[in-house]
Symmetry: none
Subunit: 421 residues, 2 copies
Amino acid sequence: MLAEIITIGDEILIGQTVDTNSAWLGEHLNAYGVEVIQISSINDKKDSIINALKAAESRADVILITGGLGPTKDDITKKVLADYFGAKLVPNHEALENIKNIFHRRGREVLQINVDQALVPDNCEVILNTKGTAPGMYFEQKGKIYVSMPGVPYEMKAMMEEVVFAKLNATGDNYTIEHHTITVVGVPESHLSLAIESVEDNLPSHVKLAYLPHLNLVRLRLSAKSTTRSSSKLKKDIDTAFDAIKAVIGNVWFDGDRNLSEIIGDMLKASKQSIGTIESCSGGYVAHSITAVSGSSAYYKGSLLTYAYETKVAIADIDQDLLNSVGAVSQEVCEMMAMNAKKKLDVDYCIATTGIAGPGGGTNEKPVGLVFIGLAKPDGTVEVKRCEFHGTRLQIIERTAYTALDMVRRAQSPSSQLESA
Amino acid sequence: MLAEIITIGDEILIGQTVDTNSAWLGEHLNAYGVEVIQISSINDKKDSIINALKAAESRADVILITGGLGPTKDDITKKVLADYFGAKLVPNHEALENIKNIFHRRGREVLQINVDQALVPDNCEVILNTKGTAPGMYFEQKGKIYVSMPGVPYEMKAMMEEVVFAKLNATGDNYTIEHHTITVVGVPESHLSLAIESVEDNLPSHVKLAYLPHLNLVRLRLSAKSTTRSSSKLKKDIDTAFDAIKAVIGNVWFDGDRNLSEIIGDMLKASKQSIGTIESCSGGYVAHSITAVSGSSAYYKGSLLTYAYETKVAIADIDQDLLNSVGAVSQEVCEMMAMNAKKKLDVDYCIATTGIAGPGGGTNEKPVGLVFIGLAKPDGTVEVKRCEFHGTRLQIIERTAYTALDMVRRAQSPSSQLESA
């Protein structure tokens, strides 16, 4: 089954918004055996929308349209679709109730333009928007499927996951496809690729390997696709290939594409241990990464965020003389931060970060990207890692957090066959 | 001048890469008065490329093509362009020298596939790649301009900045375009649209208004385009329209589309005041939002992240009896958090957050999404706002941070005519 994506709205064309929706759709449609053959971003003029629809339906079976469903005047997608399919706009009871509920919960008056969001073409199947007000629309016209969804990423994703993927699957193709992903931490893509080259060269022809690098993670995705083999056989083919990969790389991977924070959360829950943080250069991002996981209060107790010199002294008892002599960005201060915060927060593990996130503040001796990451452990020792990260301020902050979390993962499950960066 | 962007390669279609090149091109072309009317992402098959070229040249004056110029077999852009324009591939001396220099510097042997990268169609003007090996190509054919560049962002950007923008400017245009954006905080899109309806209805025909909502922010972008009016006149038209909007909405906006964190950073730098945070439910995200801004160490001193009950007592001196009687998620505890942390961190402003981010942990009395946000101010008072947020855990965390930061903004610049959430 071939699909095209049309995104409607000026914000992508003038570069105000980066189109992350299409990447998400492409990745997930692929997993359902639907191949995206073109993505078109167009403006919100009637002619542009109609031309894009005509071009897409000449090539694809499914046309996914995002954007242009807001309540304001520049949002015309719904009206154009109704005209294009010769339909009338009629009120939809369920969509209206949904809108009223949302406004009621927020204690806001329902305006006429909000009521009008519940108008839909009379020849579509309405997709309830469980995250917002604008209803989605599912059309079967001219032997093709057209799906119109809001451009707000979480509203669109919810519609896809709750309704659209299942519908496409049901009308879908006759081949079977299975995917599985493992995540490798701290090994550069080129080193990983060299290490598993012989496994990759010997994969059966219906099994494909993809590298999806992100910061210091590389996701390895195996896909097996066949018109003759069953789903369970394909899963076995994938397992066999992953076993061969794991045998080569050793303990630098975890299963799935879950966050490292979720992984260490599970480990800490299982071992009934607690964790805390003390951050300087990462500015709260390590804490945020840990607490973004639902249920993290079971193991996460808190943090001292000692951004300023005087705060390091005032709330974490860092020695003023030590700060003066070796500076805040140093092995010694990092170690003291981890130890002192472990005690103050009364936790089993404590992560400490201190470094230069940039872009300003670097020197020859201590360049931007220099970060010390400490981990105080249950046995009272502190491990300190000296890192030199590259990239933007935000990338340095993210790499600091990933590396810190992976130090916790390794402390909980040591031994590795592949040296990692 | 109208432009289209064509990106070639599977990586965007399968969601492995988010298309940031097009956003960058859209933003920068706009600044040169070139309007991007469509972005198409296609696969690297010959037919797809030719169909996309034909569609683009039927609409646009300039066609910018990125990707498909690598040395490997799946990179066919150059060959297809040569065929399409009836040209031969010939070696380019300057491009070959560039390739040899790069390989020499890296201490690598120049292979035949590297030499072949210096082959170019004999009817194009070569754009030297100062950041990599693949040369860019500039064609004037059929009364249109075609530019083919590598997909690697920094190689493409260098070619645009060093060569292409200047060439487009010279062959350029006869209309002028100006944009300006303001960001409105805490007013739902539909209410905002109702409030400024009469202004919107009376905009001159060459001025357009766009709504770009994101969480509790709505960006309002005005664009003015004309073949007769000068840039400074268009800017004045935009200013006039924004003055009318601002007169209606009052103090719920800030200029530009910068982050709220950058805005309050500038305010605090100007007023030489400092800020700290004490977070519970937002788990470090307020701190991260503030410290994501480069230079934030000038005003941000640190945070107490008191996630667990016992941490609230141990490091922020929250009264145990108070916690027992009213609970951590309460007006009283929020107020005490803000006051105590302001003192401990020795700051002018201190943000406090306590609430239930969910999805677990809610009760009838204290549902998921209930958040108290406190702001201790320089005069010693504490303002506490009771909020009921909706959405996922991450959305509740983000809305908490935005609302907290906006409380700081309002404290620094009070008075508002439009009620905000």
